[in-house]
């Protein structure tokens, strides 16, 4: 029983992302307002980004930028992968953050068009107007 608890507590980082992702998913499904749905999408995205970054972490490792050019006295030392955190998830998230800002812009543009058309951002009011049109 102790080992089970310690294995789960040792992975507390995943609990945080799961909490964030479920919070975002709740906002996407249950909230009525389009802007709140968009905020939910962004919270979900933040959870994913934190998840990737924590996967790249290594104990006692530093950022993936090499000290080099020899001028620091020690000459050329061998580079060990254990001493540097994994750069790959960082690269993926670096682009994902900027793309998420751009897609947020598209989402806001879509909600502006919705508001111009239906004079409302509430999902149920838009749905009733759509039913009345038919």
């Amino acid at each position: 029983m102790d080992t089970v608890i310690s294995t789960f507590l040792g992975k507390y980082n995943y609990w945080i992302y799961i909490a964030l992702m479920m919070l975002g998913l709740w906002a996407i499904i249950a909230k009525n307002n389009m802007i709140k749905k968009i905020i939910g999408l962004n919270i979900f995205q933040t959870g994913i980004i934190l998840f990737y970054i924590s996967i790249s972490a290594k104990k006692n490792a530093t950022i993936p930028i090499l000290m080099h050019h020899g001028g620091h006295g020690g000459g050329h030392e061998a580079i060990h992968a254990v001493n540097y955190v994994n750069p790959l998830p960082q690269v993926l998230m670096l682009t994902a953050i900027v793309v998420s800002v751009a897609t947020l812009g598209v989402a806001l543009a879509l909600s502006i068009r919705l508001y111009q058309q239906y004079k409302s951002l509430e999902e149920d009011e838009i749905l009733t107007q759509l039913r009345e049109e038919q």
Binding site: M22, H69, V91, L94, V98, V106
Partner: protein, 275 residues
């Protein structure tokens, strides 16, 4: 409906928590993600590309295709905002001109205009509040320094944290600061729609153009070592130069996209007055 949503979220949350049992623990240096490809990047990146910032090397060289299409995504997001919102011949809104000395505000409707460069009258937004000069002057003074820092982040991305995406966002943010502290017309007067659109597509063109030049010189697409044929540097240094060109392209696209998205969203596509 809400109960159903809560139930499904609880179930998927529990399933995810159950799945963490198979995940590596936090900070494990031998987790599966760190075992296969990333040791090669960390140990060989400096030798192969002469770029000490491994993130830049992986971003623009090893994963060049991925980054190219991420740039295209940002470009098309700006394009999507343009197509969704931009209106060219909308019925003109009422315009408001404020007489600077007396504070009298004129409402002008229709096509009549007060000339742009008028000393006595200043065009103001319809939801205008008196602005303190401190905010305007400080943000105007700060803008060149922010832009300088953005350029530093782009061009120093090889040696320190940075690169085209981050620098492009900083450059774009400097213009958004002007748009928020003054008004939207102030920014549009300096970087117009035509300039931004050309800049936006030029970034993507520069990125793919570097790839095509590599192809023309006998290498693979985006294989920058082929650039050494037309530059007086070795194959390894050519790869770091290729990374720099590509990062500049990314920075141009990201900067222009941020401003285009803001201008379209803030003015509902009218480009006359913002937030």
């Amino acid at each position: 409906m809400r109960k159903l949503a809560l139930l499904s979220i609880c179930i998927s949350g529990l399933l995810l928590i159950y799945a963490t049992g198979d995940f590596p623990s936090f900070g494990d240096p031998h987790s599966p993600a760190a075992e296969h490809l990333s040791p090669h990047y960390i140990e060989q990146a400096l030798e192969e590309t002469s770029v000490p910032n491994i993130v830049s090397a992986v971003l623009a060289d090893y994963r060049g295709y991925d980054t190219m299409f991420e740039t295209v995504v940002v470009f098309s997001a700006a394009l999507a905002c343009f197509f969704l919102l931009r209106v060219h011949n909308a019925s003109p809104r009422r315009r408001f001109y404020r007489h600077n000395l007396t504070g009298v505000v004129l409402h002008v409707s229709g096509e009549k205009k007060i000339p742009e460069g008028s000393v006595h009258f200043e065009r103001i937004d319809s939801k205008w509040t008196p602005q303190t000069p401190i905010v305007r002057i400080v943000s105007r003074l700060l803008t060149p320094f922010i832009q300088l820092f953005g350029l530093y982040v782009i061009f120093h991305g090889h040696q320190s944290p940075g690169g085209g995406f981050q620098g492009g966002v900083i450059l774009g943010a400097s213009f958004l600061l002007l748009a928020l502290s003054h008004d939207l017309r102030f920014v549009i007067g300096r970087v117009g729609e035509r300039f931004l659109s050309i800049f936006n597509s030029a970034g993507v063109l520069l990125y793919s153009g570097v790839g095509l030049v590599c192809l023309g010189l006998g290498g693979n697409f985006l294989d920058y070592s082929a650039l050494s044929a037309i530059m007086p540097v070795g194959e390894v240094a050519a790869r770091s130069w290729g990374i720099l060109f590509v990062e500049i392209g990314v920075g141009m696209t990201v900067m222009a996209s941020m401003i285009l998205i803001y201008n379209n969203v803030a003015s509902e596509g009218r480009w006359d007055e913002g937030l």
